[in-house]
Amino acid sequence: MTMLGDRQQLSYIASQAADARLNLELETEGMTLNIGPQHPATHGTLRIIARLDGEQVVWAEPACGYMHRGYEKLTEVRTFPQVTTLVNRIDWLGSFANEVPFILAAEKLMGVEAPTRAQYIRTILFELSRIANVSLFLGDLGVQLGAITPVFLAFRDREYVLNLIESATGGRFHPNFDRIGGLKDDLPAGWIDETRAVMKKLRSFCDQIEDLLFGNEIFQSRTRGIGVIPRDVALQYGLSGANLRASGVDWDLRRDQTLPMVWDKADWKVWTHPDGDSFARCWVRLQETRESTKIVDQLLGAIPSGPVMAKVPKIIKVPEGEAWVSTENPLGEMGYYVVSRGDLGPFRVKIRSASFNNISITPWLLRGVYVPDIVTILASLYFILGDIDR
C-alpha cells in the first residue's frame, strides 16, 4: 500500500514543487515532511504530506485511506440489523450517535416511529455519546498543544460516561442498542440517578478544562487567529458541527430539523462564535458539552413511561425507497442516504460522515501556516479517522 501510494503522492508533490520554491531570494529548496501515518498528532492513521519552506507550510494535503474499511460496500451484503453493528464503528468515540441516523432513515422508509420513551432514551444516549466524544477532544486538544494533563482528566471523566453507556446498553464503545422501531431494552434501575451525578462531574470537568486550557494565555496565543475559516468557505466545503458554528453559522441540526427525537423538549442553546479560528472551534465544543449535560439533565426528569419498542416484524424488510437522515453528531453532520429495494438489506448506503468534509478543507487551510499550527488546526477541526475513511 505505502510504496504504491507513495509513488502517486510523490508525483503529485513533484507537480507542486514549482510552487514550493517560494523563497526565491535564497533559492532554498523546500522540504517535504511526512506527518503520519504513525504520528502522535494524528489520532488514527491520517497522513499529512507537507511541503515546507523552513517551518512554513507551502502546501499540505492529508492522505487518507490507511483505515478505509469499505463500509459502504459492506452494508450492501448485510441485513438492516447487521448494519447497525457496522455503523457504530465509524466514529468510534461517539458510536451510539452513529446508529441513530441510520435507524431513523430505516424507520422513515418503513413508516415506523419509535415510542416516546424510546425517543427520550435515544436522545439521552445520543447526548451522552456526544459528551464522551467531545470530552476526549477537550483533553486531546491539550496534548496536541503540548499540555499533558488535560487528556488524563478527560479520560478520567469520560470513563464515567462510558460506564453509564455500558450499564445501559452493554457496550462501552459499540452499544448496538438501537433497533428499527425503538431500543433493544429499557434502562436498568438506578441509571437515571447515576446519570445525574455523572453530569455534575462532567460540568466540573468542563470548568477544569476551561481553567486549565481555555483561559491559559499560551493556549489562546496558540489558537486565536490560527486557521480562520470564513463563513462562505465553511459552507462551500460542507463543514458541519462546531466547525461550522464557529464560523458564525447558526445551524444546529438538533434544532433546525424535525426528527423523531426529543431535543425540542429541552431548553438549551446553540452556541456560535464569530471568529472562525481554532479557538472558536474549541470553545464552541466546550460550550456544547455543557449544553449536552443540561439537555441530559432535563430529559432525564421527563422520560415518559411506556414501551421502548414499536411493533415491528421480527424479520425486517424495508420497503422500497430512498431516505436521507442526518443528525448533529459529535463531529458534525452525520447522515445516511439509504436506498432500499424491499430486501432484507439496504441496496446502497451512502455514509456522509462529518470528518470527511471537515478535513477536506485542510489543503486550503494549511497553506502558509507553521508546522505547529498544522497540529493546532487539525486538533481544532477535530476528526476521527474512522469517520474520514469509513
Binding site: Q82, D186, A189, S305
Partner: protein, 162 residues
C-alpha cells in the same frame, strides 16, 4: 475582583488535582490486584446453554461476521412418554464462536428463539495466540456459570418485557 490570569488558574487546577489525589486516592484501578465489576448487561463473552440449543442455525445465519460455526446431526431419543414414538432430536456436534472475528454485537443472543445464548460480563479470556480465540461448546458452556440475572428496569418501563 481583578481577573486571575489564566496561567495562574491552570496551575491551580493541577495543584488542586494533586491534593485531591493525595487525599482521596486516585481513580486508577490497580487491575490485576483489584478488579472492577462490569455492569450486568456488559457484553463480555457469549455463553452457551447447550441443553437449550436445537441447532436451528438462526444465530449462525444472522451473524454479521460469520463467526459462529455449528454442526449437528439428528439422533433418535427415547420417547417422552411410555410407549410413545422415539423422538428425533438434533445433537450438537460443534458450536464454535471465533472471538477473533466476533464484533460483540449481540445479534445472535437476540435472535436465539430457545434461550440458548447469553451474555456474560466475563472478560478475562485473552489469548496470546489469535487462533486460540476460537472457543468450542464446552468452553462456552463453562461461561454459563458467570451469566447474571437480568437487571431490574428503571421506573416507568413497560413490565411486559422480560
Amino acid at each position: 475582583m481583578a481577573k486571575v490570569p489564566g496561567l495562574v488558574k491552570g496551575l491551580g487546577v493541577t495543584l488542586g488535582t494533586l491534593f485531591k489525589t493525595t487525599v482521596n486516592g486516585s481513580n486508577t484501578v490497580q487491575y490485576p490486584h483489584e478488579k472492577e465489576t462490569p455492569p450486568i448487561r456488559s457484553r463480555g463473552v457469549i455463553a452457551l446453554h447447550q441443553d437449550n440449543c436445537t441447532s436451528c442455525m438462526l444465530c449462525s445465519r444472522s451473524c454479521p461476521d460469520w463467526c459462529i460455526y455449528i454442526e449437528a446431526h439428528k439422533e433418535l431419543a427415547p420417547p417422552r412418554r411410555e410407549g410413545g414414538k422415539p423422538r428425533q432430536v438434533n445433537l450438537l456436534d460443534r458450536f464454535d464462536i471465533d472471538y477473533a472475528l466476533c464484533m460483540y454485537c449481540g445479534i445472535c443472543v437476540e435472535v436465539c428463539p430457545f434461550d440458548a445464548l447469553f451474555w456474560s460480563p466475563e472478560y478475562e479470556y485473552s489469548e496470546p495466540n489469535i487462533s486460540d480465540l476460537l472457543h468450542d461448546k464446552s468452553k462456552l458452556s463453562e461461561w454459563m456459570e458467570t451469566v447474571p440475572e437480568a437487571p431490574e428496569l428503571e421506573a416507568g418501563a413497560d413490565k411486559k418485557k422480560k
